[in-house]
């Protein structure tokens, strides 16, 4: 018994204290941003490595490698850095529009099999991959986050939800940001089974359908609307999809002659209706098909070609600005 206790103490003191596989923190190359592009047959991978020092806690180094696979690119970084690459604190992955279905499969496999990668980092599509490294990952995430909470054009898209979308729908919608001059959100881009940019209206329509609107603002018929709350419920019956949107809104400006409550409500609902129709008409109906597959699986299996019918209903409530503390009174 004494021997066993002694053995445990010796082994624990050597292993638990870090003597096995010992590594100093400054030997780790913590990556907070990875940018993946493809040019012809080669991947171009850029990483943002955080190397804090006493003078600058946010000091970083940027490395770029080009090779036939992402794994090979990661290996190539070891020709340039003496630090062990770690994705434990990866905050942002930026992909370009050149990344297609096959490349997505490779990226998913890579990150699912890497034990140091958490799959909760956010993902974006960029048009100018060379410029993005000038910005901080957390600032870009904050840009999307603020947009999501105040305007509702895009929402943070975590990598694991992209995998889920691809597995369930063969398509995913990722926020697209332009870095030509300064960061500017463009809307969503569909990836995997089809690569196409969504306009601002389509992006808003997508967010309404997927119940991702927290707040939003838009203008219609010389009137400014602000959505305070929105909740979308979708019900599926065979090939019929009913979308019910319950929302509360207020009018931020009214430069039209319309004062009639019913007319104002109609303008408000028509505008949202247009956004949703824009998204449905101009984009593939994979999203609706996946809903039918999920909720009406037997019907989905029996029917080769499904003619999807959809119906949008609204349950809108206007909040008068006078009811809001600190709001302006309109007469």
């Amino acid at each position: 018994m004494k021997i066993l206790k002694l053995l445990i103490i010796i082994l624990l003191s050597f292993s638990m204290t870090g003597c096995v596989s010992y590594m100093e923190l400054n030997e780790l190359g913590i990556i907070d941003m990875i940018v993946i592009d493809k040019n012809n047959d080669n991947y171009i991978v850029t990483i943002n490595m955080l190397i804090p020092n006493q003078d600058d806690l946010e000091n970083k180094e940027v490395y770029t490698a080009s090779n036939i696979s992402i794994d090979e690119c990661l290996n190539d970084f070891y020709l340039k850095t003496n630090k062990k690459i770690s994705f434990t604190h990866l905050e942002l992955m930026a992909l370009t529009s050149n990344i297609k279905q096959q490349e997505y499969d490779e990226i998913i496999n890579l990150f699912l099999n890497r034990v140091d990668a958490r799959n909760t980092f956010s993902t974006i599509i960029v048009d100018e991959p060379s410029n993005i490294v000038d910005y901080k990952a957390k600032d870009i995430n904050e840009l999307i986050n603020i947009n999501s909470e105040e305007y509702g054009l895009v929402s943070i898209k975590q990598f694991d939800s992209i995998i889920k979308d691809i597995l369930e729908m063969n398509i995913s919608y990722i926020p697209k940001i332009s870095f030509k001059d300064s960061p500017s959100i463009l809307g969503y881009q569909s990836v995997y089974s089809s690569n196409s940019d969504l306009s601002k209206e389509e992006s808003l329509g997508f967010n309404f359908i997927t119940n991702q609107i927290k707040q939003s603002k838009f203008n219609s018929n010389n009137m400014g609307f602000k959505i305070d709350t929105s909740n979308t419920i979708i019900t599926v019956n065979k090939n019929e999809i009913n979308i019910n949107i319950t929302s509360t809104y207020q009018i931020t400006s009214n430069n039209s002659n319309t004062q009639d409550e019913h007319k104002i409500q109609k303008i408000y609902e028509d505008e949202i209706n247009n956004y949703i129709n824009d998204f449905i008409n101009k984009n593939q109906n994979n999203y609706f098909l996946s809903l039918i597959e999920k909720y009406q699986n037997n019907y989905y299996k029996k029917n080769q070609k499904i003619n999807i019918k959809y119906n949008i209903t609204f349950n809108s409530t206007r909040i008068n600005n006078s009811n809001i503390k600190g709001g302006f009174h309109e007469y």
Binding site: M1, L4, I8, M16, L112, V115
Partner: protein, 359 residues
Amino acid sequence: MNTNSKTSPLGLCFLSTFLYRSFYVIGLFNIIISISKSDSLFSVIIGSIIGFVFLFIYFYLNNHLEENNIFEKINKTFPKVISDLFIVILIISFMIISSYNLYNLALFINYNLLNDISIIPISILLLLCITYLSIKGINTVIRTSGILIFIWIFLVIISFLALVNYSNPSNLYPFLVNNPLNIFKGGIYYGVISITPLLMLLLIPKNKIENNKRYQKYMLITYIINALYFIINLVLILSILGYKFTNILKYPDIIILQKVSLLNFIERIEDLLSFKLMFDGFIFLSLAIIYIKEGLINVLKIKSNNKIIYFISIAIIICSLYLHLTNIEFTIPFMISILIIHFFLLIFIKIKNFTNNSQ
């Protein structure tokens, strides 16, 4: 084991909660998802009902020959050759199951906590602690599970409260679209895998349990609570990840724990929360070593000695590192053989009782 001391039924219930989940994170969850897919929930419900049948085998055997443990019961019921054969099968089966458990527990630790350390030092360290606990005896294992259960409950509540907001019921669809045979097969797997470790409790004779009249009731409540826990956990995982994503993940529990964020500033605590998943294997292995030791003492007719525990531990670690068992389906025949032996025992006891009564 101190022969005079009595075991509290509540302690045994705490111990049994860990035994039910011995294989949960290291294969049980994955195999149910891969067989039953989106209908896994129904498999678990069916499995829980099947589990009741196995649970009543345990109750019956526990109530018969109250002063004897399982090996003595086998000895008294069957002729010597058959009883020795049954005990040897039980020892080998639990040996294989323990090897699987140890190897996969070490893999789990390697994958989630100690990425840069190989399986061998992890297995050795783990088994050293388990061996130490086994040497201390079954009452210490029960007391340890009594302490761990409170830590486990605390971690489960934190995880649940933090994750419930991420769940989306639409991810649970579609329902009842898979082959009913597969749903039933998943149910049988759940019943077999969750109940087999519980049969190790037959090591404790009923007369060594305090207030043993209420014991059966407590165990039944514990079983129902565990089945509900499994169902809630399954619903939580599937409603967050969806079955297609869950099916390709090795440890879906860890993936959802990565999302835990308390008060928006306590994040990245999945390593701490994942400890709740390791307690089960730890307790199972401690009890399995004691079970195998008692079996060897019974079949070889040797005196109880701690050296046997060292020998068993070494055998388990060699077996686990040599066999590299990663597929839980490999252990199913061994678990079924354990259940069959207990079932035979039940039948023979019934026949004996019947013939005795008729005489």
